[in-house]
Symmetry: C2
Subunit: 86 residues, 2 copies
């Protein structure tokens, strides 16, 4: 879940509510309404995203630490595929 959300936040800042339809559209993944909220809630505490308020919406931006986490995740996945395909 967090990988999907970080991927989208790398492209542009988003707020939790618009993530649900976006996750469906981009990844064919239908999360519960509340899921992006909880994931962002925890990622903010971890310093992987940071928030700002704009027009009564809480926009999240990925941090340097978040980008690093995403890239490590991608590397892990690539390695996994290579190892499982060999």
């Amino acid at each position: 879940m967090w990988v999907y959300i970080l991927k989208l936040l790398k492209e542009r800042d988003m707020y939790a509510y618009e993530l649900k339809p976006m996750l469906m559209e981009r990844f064919g993944f239908q999360p519960a309404l509340v899921t992006p909220y909880v994931v962002l809630y925890r990622m903010e505490r971890g310093g992987f995203v940071e928030a700002r308020w704009d027009e009564n919406k809480k926009y999240y931006k990925i941090t340097t630490k978040g980008v690093k986490l995403f890239e490590e995740g991608m590397e892990y996945l690539s390695d996994l595929i290579v190892k499982l395909s060999a």
Copy 2:
């Protein structure tokens, strides 16, 4: 974990005890001694592997259902990488 184990069982039948060092060697993954036992124990109940005794060792063989699970897992991973790279 189960993906790693199914991958190894696709190559040849193995028993739980030899899986631990194999998982390290092939995937750089060091599980606890008991982990392969528990994973195989559950996969047997799920019909993804089946067992036979040979020289006091319980050899596990991947089933058709297990191969299918592995291939679905691989497909899922490939799709994931494509989507996250796009």
